[in-house]
């Protein structure tokens, strides 16, 4: 059996997109294959590792577990939406400066989870950082430098817009 393609419309990083594909295709695959946004990574493919984290309507989701049909009308933010005109988001700068990224596989998801955290807790405690990033696994850094990156970003940039994740 092969199902009919369906056109799903949503926005990615503020840009309107229309994708014609099987409704059960994972948002992760649509981002990478149809929209060529390969910043979002696949790790486990079962919602355990957080590598594919993106923001959907201001909430953090694992894009490997979202059938694209459910993104209809949604506002999706991926790691490609963080830098503006080549200027890195303050959180990206903090990851660079603090050594929060090594091999880079977990980094896009880690950044999106950290953005989500900072929109809710502009000045997170270490416990809040640990919980906010608990769904994102890193095999390189030992996490300490990632946590330090988030602390550094939070101290420099107190308020992120809940929807856009950018400084107000």
């Amino acid at each position: 059996m092969s199902v009919a393609s369906h056109t799903t419309r949503f926005t990615v990083n503020g840009r309107d997109v229309a994708v014609e594909t099987a409704p059960m295709k994972r948002l992760l695959d649509v981002l990478r294959e149809d929209l060529h946004l390969t910043g979002t990574k696949e790790g486990c493919g079962e919602g355990e590792c957080g590598s594919c984290s993106v923001r959907m309507n201001g909430e953090l989701v694992n894009s490997c577990l979202v059938p694209v049909l459910q993104a209809e009308g949604a506002s999706i933010q991926t790691v490609e939406g963080l830098a503006i005109d080549g200027k890195l988001h303050p959180l990206q700068r903090a990851f660079l400066e603090c050594g929060g990224a090594q091999c880079g596989m977990c980094t896009p998801g880690m950044l999106m989870a950290a953005i989500q955290l900072l929109t809710i807790h502009p000045h997170p405690t270490m416990a809040e950082i640990r919980e906010g990033l608990a769904g994102n696994l890193c095999r390189c850094t030992g996490f300490t430098r990632i946590f330090e990156s988030v602390v550094a970003a939070a101290s420099g940039h107190p308020h992120l817009d809940e929807q856009t994740g950018h400084a107000r």
Binding site: M1, S2, V3, T21, A22, P23, M24, K25, R26, D29, G45, E46, G47, E48, G50, S53, E59, L60, V61, N62, C64, L65, V66, P67, L69, Q70, E72, A113, Q116, L117, R130, E131, G132, A134, G135, N136
Partner: protein, 292 residues
């Protein structure tokens, strides 16, 4: 082998009534999907049996929290994030707020739903012991109407429940009468975050004059589905909290528990830890009474 998206139909009728009509027109043919934290995992692994799925995501009639004077009603598509961030849940149903925070990660909590947790029917489901000790009722809906079923009677076997093929879990009703109960909830897993339970125990109990009155005990992963521990409850009701009643409650729990061996733990470990959790709760009761 990876699942093929072209092998599965997925539609989003957009309203509760349209979904119910679909289920009535082709009973048993359509599998409801909400946040996908279970079914999309099966899909990715190529073991999603359902060929026809109907999306409940984004249907407002299924995602609500209604606070009445004596009950809280939770729509089936209420996410665990919704539960964690609602002050009435935190205030009146603290064990449920705690359990909601156990569900996977933030990204899982923003998609996983209470109704999905129950219908999926994992014996380890995080929300379930809490709903049992809060005496939850399940509201079931179809084109034929609605009916209420005690949650303690919802599961009928491993991943089996009382839903007819044309029915949908609509809402969970929680009575607000546990304010004076001592409440307990603890989960044991391999690590603090993201781990699926090896075993979890929940309890609500009233203690007056050092004697246990109304008591409910429930566990995840001690049977093929989440269960009340009726024998342990009987061993404790009307008893004074102390070494004798603790010992008889442990014995009753070990007699009625039917855990399985699986990849997460062994039956023997689950039995011993569950009995220890029960003892921990009872010793908390004892200390509270001694202090009072």
């Amino acid at each position: 082998m990876r699942g093929n998206p072209n092998s599965h139909q997925l539609i989003a009728p957009g309203s509760l009534s349209a979904v119910l009509e679909l289920l009535a027109a082709e009973p048993g043919e359509w599998t409801p999907i909400v946040g996908g934290t279970e079914l999309m995992v099966a899909h990715a692994a190529g073991r999603l049996a359902s060929r026809k799925l109907v999306s409940l995501w984004g249907i407002p009639d299924l995602r609500f929290i209604t606070v009445n004077p004596d009950t809280v009603v939770l729509g089936a598509a209420t996410t665990f994030r919704d539960l964690r961030h609602h002050t009435a849940i935190d205030t009146h149903l603290p064990l449920l707020a705690k359990a909601a925070g156990w569900v996977g990660s933030i990204a899982n909590q923003s998609r996983a739903t209470l109704g999905g947790n129950l219908v999926n029917g994992s014996p380890a489901a995080d929300s379930t012991p809490t709903l049992l000790v809060y005496d939850a009722q399940i509201e079931i809906i179809s084109v034929r109407g609605t009916r209420l079923v005690p949650y303690a009677e919802f599961h009928t076997g491993y991943k089996r429940n009382v839903l007819a093929p044309d029915e949908l879990l609509y809402a969970v009703h929680l009575p607000l009468r546990f304010a004076r109960h001592r409440q307990y909830l603890r989960k044991v897993g391999t690590r603090r975050a993201m781990a699926i339970s090896k075993v979890a125990l929940a309890a609500t109990a009233v203690v007056e004059d050092r004697t246990i009155g109304e008591i409910r005990l429930a566990a995840a992963s001690l049977a093929a589905f989440p269960t009340r521990l009726y024998q342990a409850e009987s061993a404790l009701a009307g008893q004074r909290v102390g070494p004798l009643s603790i010992q008889s409650a442990r014995t009753a729990l070990l007699a009625e528990a039917r855990p399985i061996d699986d990849i997460r733990s062994t039956a023997e470990y689950r039995m011993r830890v569950a009995a220890n959790l029960l003892e921990e709760f009872l010793k908390e009761l004892q200390r509270a009474e001694t202090a009072a």
